[in-house]
Amino acid sequence: MNHSQSSEKFLRDKQRTGWHDASLWFVREKRDAVAKAVPEWETLRTLASEIKQQVLSDLDQYLISFEKNAQKNGVHVHWARDGKTHNEIVFNILQKHHARSLVKSKSMLTEECGLNEFLLANDIEVIDTDLGERIVQLAEEPPSHIVMPAIHKKKAEIGELFHQTIGTEKGNSDPAYLTEAARQHLREKFLRAEAALTGVNFAIAETGGVVVCTNEGNADMGVHLAPLQIHSMGIEKILPRAEHLGIFLRLLARSATGQLLTTYTSHYHRPKPGGEMHIIIVDNGRSEQLGQEKFRQSLCCIRCGACMNTCPVYRRSGGHSYGSVIPGPIGSILTPGMPIGGHPDLPFASTLCGSCNDVCPVKIDIHQQLYHWRQHSEIRQAAAPGKKRLMQFAAWLFSHPQAYRLAGKTARLFLRMLPRKAIYHRWNHWGLSRELPVAPRESFREWYDKNEGKK
């Protein structure tokens, strides 16, 4: 399947498509309102972009000093080349501590590595503790959005899911009731957990600490209750200094959900008394992406999800239609270069409207990268097999003005003469829902020659 096909399936439910579009547009508008209340917004974006790019250009040095500083604080630092290595490191740490249960707070990286499946197969209980993550985990689905993993689910569907999985009352989909039920259900998991794992929003090279932003306090709850804490981060999460958080935290929460700040911003620097703290630094294709000049900037991403909320295609096709861990515009430029799976035609799942560029808090040139990825032969093939000949012909035509004029004249003649049935058939994808333009007798050029008396 490709994105074109999966989105067509999503679009068949017109009402749901409208609902999904409106839910995400609502978030986009919330973002607009709070961004516009910050007069220096564009300056913040520029600073953030420059800091991130500087980090990328000296990434090796920053990572080494981050490791050194973390170790000074008594943290165990691990390096994982790929997802598999990451999962094994987690498993080994758990084994050493005889831990059989793990509570996780939101981490797209562990989705990317397939950690849950790996641990479950090794008899470890893994519980996602972010409400949205827990919902999709109970539904046995992947997240459809990187910030709001269950945004594709309606209230009533969540009510039914909770009824079937955690025994809430049938037919009750009152959000307050469901949230409370989830809270009770999770509390019991938190109390029993022997280890906690979180993702990382920012890793500070200067201090060796990591920062995690949540709205539910679930990262803290996990880390504080379990004796063992693990933080998994991609190599690109580095910020040079703690003071840079002043820029990034403001941008992140506003861009993500239209909040001024996430409810909890947790800073972890060292193990708690009697506890143990591990940080796993994961590459999984990132250094390769870093080596590609045209695509390097994609590593500046702070995973705010704003490009999804603004994307006219994402809003009307849902995250699952991308078939990738990270959906939406940023997913479409990360997926082709990284081992994270996804439909092969993702760079074509865009109208190139450029809204993602303008909304992105770190100014990633998503629109240009989509264009560059399209130039890869496997990608363009996946999007529209058999187009090569047509494109070759068009290119020939456009470089032969006389042939172009003749072809135009002929095409217009056909459009005027042919019976409707010969033009509007199922292979004419334009005509399935749209009329073709009315072909005029004269092209502009013909008009010009006639009226301006030139030949």
Binding site: E8, K387, A395, P401
Partner: protein
């Protein structure tokens, strides 16, 4: 001032009235305009489909046609954006750079070069301005709703000079129309849905006419409108500025 008129291929073939309006409008502003006859297409549809490497000869033809002019003016933000930002090549680097410097989308040319302050036209209609994405975010013909900057729109400002014309406010001021070039056929269902939503916004807010800097967006919207048998019409903004009667 030597000015060349760039007429994108689909305007040449399907919307000659838009090119005529552009030509006449520029003449009214006392500009002498040439129409280089050997021009064809900028190659954007091929390049956006992932076949940029086939377009070298098309780019060459474009550059040959338009070399030696002080300004190149085209009534299409999207094609001008493509020329300005995607043309490249070692063979004719200097020529390409010259063209990229000299090419202007129409409302940009009227605003930044001619500094037009007055338009002699009437159009007593409720008009919805569709802000075509490549012109808006690519050429910065106006601020996008995502940006936190002072509000401006070159196209809107020009339309506001037209007597009787009433611009309607849209719920989503700059949502894409869903055309997207070959996207319109490779993702026909998606393209259609985005377009229908766009039309609904204009309709809800009382537009009788939808205008834009790009006829390609309007071709898509018009295709949908005519299929729906809607009363809403589309019209390129050059036609309105040139004094088209409603």
């Amino acid at each position: 001032m030597k000015v060349a008129l760039f007429v994108p291929c689909y305007i040449d073939q399907f919307y000659p009235q838009v090119a005529i309006a552009t030509l006449q409008l520029l003449r009214k502003l006392e500009i002498t305009v040439d129409f280089p006859r050997e021009q064809t297409c900028c190659g954007q549809p091929i390049a956006n489909a992932g076949y940029e490497h086939y377009t070298a000869a098309t780019v060459r033809n474009f550059c040959e046609s338009f070399s030696g002019y002080d300004y190149i003016v085209g009534p299409s933000g999207s094609c001008v954006f493509h020329v300005k930002h995607h043309f490249h090549g070692e063979a004719n680097k200097a020529g390409i750079e010259q063209i990229q410097k000299n090419i202007y989308e129409l409302s940009e040319f009227l605003t930044d070069v001619l500094k037009v302050e007055k338009i002699d036209a009437q159009f007593p209609e409720k008009v919805g301005l569709h802000q075509s994405c490549h012109g808006l975010r690519g050429l910065r013909l106006g601020n996008s709703s995502e940006q936190v900057v002072a509000q401006y729109s070159k196209t809107r400002r020009l339309l506001e000079m037209v007597e009787g014309l009433q611009l309607v406010d849209l719920d989503r001021p700059d949502e894409c129309c869903g055309f997207g070039g070959t996207f319109a056929v490779s993702q026909a269902a998606m393209s259609t849905r985005i377009g229908e939503d766009r039309i609904a916004d204009h309709q809800r807010n009382g537009a009788a006419v939808i205008t834009a800097t790009d006829m390609s967006c309007l071709m898509h919207l018009d295709g949908l409108l005519r299929r729906q048998k809607s009363n809403i019409r589309v019209m390129h903004f050059a036609e309105i500025l040139n004094g088209a009667t409603s």
